[in-house]
Assembly symmetry: C2
């Protein structure tokens, strides 16, 4: 059963636009912004409106095919739902960005599960702070 059938089985429709958006996200190596997805889709199909891209990303996320996360404060980034969960550490001083594995995230999540019965998705937002190469108390 293809993606189209899965989508139809859930009462949604498989449109050209939806297919193109999903395809673009799948094809992208890592994270990609909605804006970039729109640019790529519109490169071949200029009549497709950016708002359609945004709406499809939302729909595809609901359907479980794509996910979004926030690595800087500004833009939302999208990726395939199946990619291995990993977190991001962003240094507020030098802007350096490090990926971290699921083990550390799981260890941290365990704490929230124990103390607050909360099932955290720590990969959703980057964790900001000061990286190992920057002084912890900067410029004072």
């Amino acid at each position: 059963m293809g993606v189209g059938d899965e989508i139809r089985a859930r009462g949604r429709r498989m449109t050209v636009q939806r297919g193109l958006v999903l395809d673009t996200v799948q094809r992208a190596r890592h994270h990609i912004t909605a804006d970039e997805i729109a640019r790529r889709v519109r490169a071949k199909h200029p009549q497709i409106d950016p708002s359609t891209v945004y709406r499809n990303l939302e729909a595809l996320e609901e359907l479980g095919y794509v996910t979004h996360s926030h690595v800087d404060d500004r833009v939302t980034r999208w990726h395939r739902a199946e990619v291995a969960p990993h977190g991001h550490l962003v240094c507020r001083s030098c802007g350096d960005e490090t990926e971290i594995g699921p083990a550390v995230l799981e260890a941290m999540a365990r704490r929230l599960r124990a103390d607050h019965a909360f099932e955290a998705d720590l990969a959703h937002s980057a964790i900001v702070g000061i990286c190992r190469r920057c002084p912890v108390v900067p410029s004072c």
Copy 2:
């Protein structure tokens, strides 16, 4: 030495606009959005442009008087720099928002310090996930 002198001592200027923005943030009970700050400032001084408010928040953050954090994916919220650090747990299913104390955050931060020598500010972004009252695998 007042705030004005401190600011001047660091080569910045103390303007009416900057004073009003700082004052509004100090006066606000908890977090407040930039938009709301702009609205309040403009209520009495309509000639002050929203962009000035945004730029002053940035400047005041750099100067250490205010801080911002993100509790949902979209809006930035501002508060006095001195408020006790605390985290937010946001349920992606029901939207429920819980404040958590610094102890849990510190325990989690310890892990990142140990494994990645990264000094995390876990209060900066809300942690999304599924709260205790919602099923962990929703609507399938």
